[in-house]
């Protein structure tokens, strides 16, 4: 039985416009067609709030990732989905970015920059978000990492935001026996 073990770290982020209180919710999403059983570890989580910082500075999370999957098929390889939020001193959370990256298929250590974006909406919503801090959200955040056929993102107006840095080590076992070369 082929297995996939992911060991990694969400190192941190940079270039977010929000001054401080950044945190990141992450989830390793697998394909929906097959049941990617988890043998151990967590597939989702949330980092701590990096309170310090300033505009454009780096935030540091150093959040560990350790997940162990059974590979049922080569279709639906896991993807990392991140949501970056900022928490202000009043305790209100503002969305700062959605991002995703494919988990590499080749075994070894990989450094990945996840480019994030955030929906910005029209002029009215932008005014609201400036004064009230509420930005439009995605109704279904799973589309960040999955595009279904026939669905297009054209028309979704977004603003690019910062970069999340991920370091991940991929270990596979028994894939060669299934004829997979990766």
């Amino acid at each position: 039985m082929a297995e996939l073990h992911l060991l990694g770290t969400i190192l941190g982020c940079s270039d977010f416009k929000e001054p401080s209180g950044l945190f990141c919710k992450w989830k390793i999403a697998t394909g929906e067609s097959y049941d990617w059983q988890t043998l151990g570890g967590e597939v989702s989580g949330c980092t701590q709030v990096d309170a310090l910082g300033g505009e454009g500075t780096d935030g540091v999370w150093d959040h560990p990732i350790d997940s162990h999957f059974v590979i049922p098929s080569m279709i639906g390889w896991p993807r990392m989905r991140v949501e970056v939020w900022s928490r202000d001193s009043g305790g209100s959370n503002t969305l700062c970015g959605y991002g995703f990256c494919n988990i590499p298929t080749s075994p070894g250590l990989h450094d990945i920059d996840i480019a994030t974006w955030v929906p910005c909406g029209g002029i009215h919503e932008r005014l609201c978000s400036f004064f009230l801090g509420m930005k439009p959200h995605l109704k279904d955040p799973s589309i960040v990492a999955h595009t279904r056929p026939g669905e297009s993102r054209f028309g979704l107006k977004c603003e690019s935001s910062g970069v999340v840095y991920l370091q991940i080590e991929v270990i596979t076992s028994n894939l060669e026996a299934q004829g997979v070369c990766c």
Binding site: N102, H146, P149
Partner: protein, 759 residues
């Protein structure tokens, strides 16, 4: 063994079975000794000299988990006084006043002591010079050592908040307060709830140097001063109490004992005892030395104690049995895990017609170098497949696991509309930091601090001066120039200057493409190097619905497995001045008729080679694309059906080794038998040999595991294996039978598994 070092034990039995033997031995001193002879004990510390004092010096006590043994203080306070003793003569007298003043636990204890008195034992007679007693969980005892939370050698650091554990236990109320100020039992319960990690605690205590007489007198008169000895000036407390052992039971069945239970001490590696014949004799006759701990009382007496687990596993046979049970448990766990995972891998190429499946996970990450003219940038892509390639889901005969084949035929797609982000300048290679960007201080590429204040003040004063002086002076022109400068981007705010960093458009668009290579890819020279291509078109959308093409580019999907990060350099067609104007005002002045001509036009007009001469273009930006490529061939071994190929291979290996081991064990036994029974009887059997013999008797077969789990440890009969909860094969030469049975079951299961796979 360090007495302050906690030891952790994993519990298999119920905790009620814990039984400890506490041995307390006085080495030197004692109350009577110091009273009579003063400090005479100094010179003669050997045991022989003190022998007359040591008659009652060894004290042994067996203590159960959470068993309350009363200490001198509790006996003195709670035991009936002389007046109450008189009441006790008439057994029907209610003693409601006694329980009304104390808490729940105290009244229980009091009741127990009264009961003992009524049974004919005077609790006061039990007060001895050295006592072993316990504090159980509900007593809420806090040892003094945890109330001194000094973590450093510094004397000034008196803040108890530095020791959270000490603080937590210190907040637990000590119910045994001298002046009868007993807190409610509810408080005790509350403090238990507040513990960070839920545990139950028990202290094994020693009370030594007890002044028996004064305690007895004091308790009869209920004079607290005589019980406790009053203030230190009079002579301090009438006894000294010491925590011998702290036992904590956590909710996860871990037991922590501080210090750990006494063990037979191993020889010191650096300073071993002389293995003389005498020392060996002593060892043989009196047993090995066990760990002991020592403490000194304020009066100068020296005591030594040992705490032994009475139910500890001592014989080598039972250790071996436990080991075998453990091995069996491990084997069962491994088997269960193997069963749970099952044998399946869907979507493999099943026929030789398909050389391989090409699984590529593609991500359009970002675009840069396109400038920022206030519009939204987006990317469209199109997949161009060469002749012979098709989607993996179109290949017939592939086992998709009974599910509908995942339909991920994303031939075309478009990302969202993105506004740019202005990232910090990227680091040069030599100054690379952990995150890939530099930590350039903001002052270097922005205007901040004093400079921007000076800028703003100059602007303000020129405008004021210009207004005051009127039109005759042209000083306002200076201010106006400053304003223009500010608008052009040299802004006095703390923002990053747009001119200094490149705008980056983030897309983060996922797409997966699963393709099947043409059958003749290795033989046909036409398709030998062909690979599917992704064609990209980057456009921007501006106000008034103007669409402007920003760039074209393509990337060939690599057919070698790996992870690729590709920067696609893009170009854009360039027309004359008219089309440029049209592009600027209306948009969409030029675009490629056929997106495929980015790479290779579908119709080359009869030419034998591709020439793009005459086509004027201009470089624009670059698009970052990450591609993970996996090739999936048909599994090499075709002897098996392929469904559980990898697994059965390893299993077969594992079984052959088991066979090997069994045969080896059998030959060993035969050899031992041939050596002769007498010889065997005299030579001690090594643990390893014995274990292997036992293993031979209790053959494990993984085929039994499934049935065994449901049977729930029904006892197997037979001889010395009666204590084993699992089935035992009849001993003797029946291993071959068992193996045959296992093989038959395995074959049956394999057949079953194949059926399940094809379902």
């Amino acid at each position: 063994m360090d007495p302050a070092q906690p030891f952790y034990y994993h519990i298999c039995d119920p905790m009620q079975n814990l039984s400890l033997k506490v041995t307390l031995r006085r080495i030197h001193g004692g109350l009577a000794d110091s009273k009579k002879q003063g400090k005479a004990g100094k010179g003669k510390q050997t045991k022989d000299k003190n022998k007359e004092n040591l008659q009652p010096s060894v004290l042994e006590k067996n203590v159960q988990w959470q068993e309350k043994v009363f200490g001198p203080r509790e006996i003195a306070v709670l035991a009936p006084s002389s007046s109450e003793r008189a009441d006790l003569r008439s057994p029907r007298t209610p003693r409601s006043k006694a329980s009304s003043t104390s808490s729940l636990g105290d009244s229980d204890y009091k009741e127990a002591l009264y009961q003992r008195l009524r049974d004919g034992f005077d609790p006061l007679e039990e007060v001895q010079e050295a006592m072993v007693f316990t504090y159980v969980d509900k007593d809420g005892f806090v040892p003094k050592s945890t109330l001194q939370p000094r973590l450093t050698t510094s004397n000034t650091q008196d803040d108890p908040t530095f020791n959270p554990l000490g603080l937590a236990t210190a907040t637990m109320p000590m119910r045994q307060l001298p002046k009868g100020v007993l807190p409610d039992s509810t408080n005790a319960m509350k403090s238990h709830l507040g513990r960070e990690a839920p545990f139950k605690i028990m202290y094994i205590m020693a009370a030594v140097d007890c002044d028996v007489e004064s305690i007895k007198e004091g308790s009869l008169e209920k004079n607290n001063d005589s019980i406790y000895g009053g203030p230190a000036a009079i002579g301090g407390p009438r006894f000294f109490e010491k925590v011998l052992c702290t036992i904590k039971l956590y909710s996860n069945n871990t037991m922590e004992a501080t210090p750990g239970f006494s063990e037979e001490e191993p020889e010191d590696e650096y300073n071993p005892t002389f293995a003389s014949s005498h020392s060996l004799q002593v060892r043989q006759s009196e047993g090995p030395k066990t760990t002991t701990f020592r403490f000194v009382t304020p009066r100068g007496s020296v005591y030594e104690y040992a705490i032994e687990n009475r139910n500890a596993v001592e014989s080598i046979v039972s250790t071996e049995r436990l080991l075998i049970e453990e091995t069996y448990r491990d084997q069962r766990k491994v088997q269960e895990r193997r069963n749970r995972r099952g044998n399946f891998f869907f979507g493999k190429p099943e026929t030789d017609d398909v050389p391989y499946f090409l699984h590529s996970n593609i991500e359009i990450v970002s675009a840069e170098g396109f400038g920022d003219e206030g519009g939204y940038l987006f990317t469209e892509y199109e997949l161009s497949m060469p002749n012979g390639w098709c989607f993996a889901t179109q290949v017939t005969g592939t086992n998709w696991g009974g599910r509908t084949p995942p339909d991920e035929r994303c031939l075309t797609g478009a990302t969202h509309l993105a506004r740019p982000a202005y990232l910090k300048p990227k680091s040069s290679a030599e100054a690379g930091k952990a995150f890939g960007t530099t930590n350039i201080p903001r002052g270097e590429d922005t205007m901040g601090g004093l400079r921007s204040q000076f800028f703003g003040l100059t602007l303000f004063f020129t405008i004021i001066a210009g207004m005051l002086l009127g039109e005759a002076y042209m000083i306002w022109l200076f201010g106006a120039l400053l304003m223009v400068g500010a608008v052009m981007g040299v802004s006095p705010t703390g923002q990053y200057d747009h001119q200094l960093s490149d705008p980056v458009y983030h897309f983060g668009y996922p797409t997966n493409i699963h393709l099947a290579a043409p059958p003749d890819i290795h033989t046909n020279p036409v398709v030998m190097n062909s690979a599917p291509t992704l064609l990209f078109q980057v456009s921007s959308k501006h106000a008034f619905q103007r669409h402007i093409i920003e760039g074209y580019g393509y990337v060939k999907i690599p057919t070698t497995p790996g992870t690729y990060e590709i920067n696609v350099k893009m170009w854009v067609p360039r027309g004359g001045i008219r089309s440029e104007m049209r592009n600027f005002f209306v948009g969409g002045a030029y675009r490629l008729h056929d997106l495929r001509s980015i790479e290779m036009p579908s119709d080359m007009g009869g030419a034998t080679f591709l020439s793009k001469f005459g086509f004027r273009t201009e470089k624009s930006g670059s698009l970052k694309v990450r591609i993970n490529v996996v090739t999936h061939r048909k599994p090499l071994d075709t002897a098996d059906d392929g469904s559980d190929m990898g697994n059965s291979q390893t299993l077969n290996q594992g079984r052959s080794t088991v066979d090997d081991i069994l045969s080896r064990v059998r030959t060993n036994r035969n050899m031992a038998a041939s050596r002769g029974g007498k010889n065997q009887a005299t030579t001690p059997i090594s643990p390893l040999r014995r274990r292997s013999q036992m293993m031979d008797k209790f053959t494990f077969s993984d085929a039994d595991v499934g049935t065994q789990g449901s049977a729930g440890g029904e006892g197997g009969g037979g001889g010395d294996g009666g204590a084993f909860p699992y089935k035992t094969a009849p001993s003797g030469g029946s291993t071959a039978d068992v193996l045959a049975k296992v093989r038959a079951r395995r074959a049956a299961r394999n057949n079953k598994g194949d059926n399940a796979d094809t379902m």
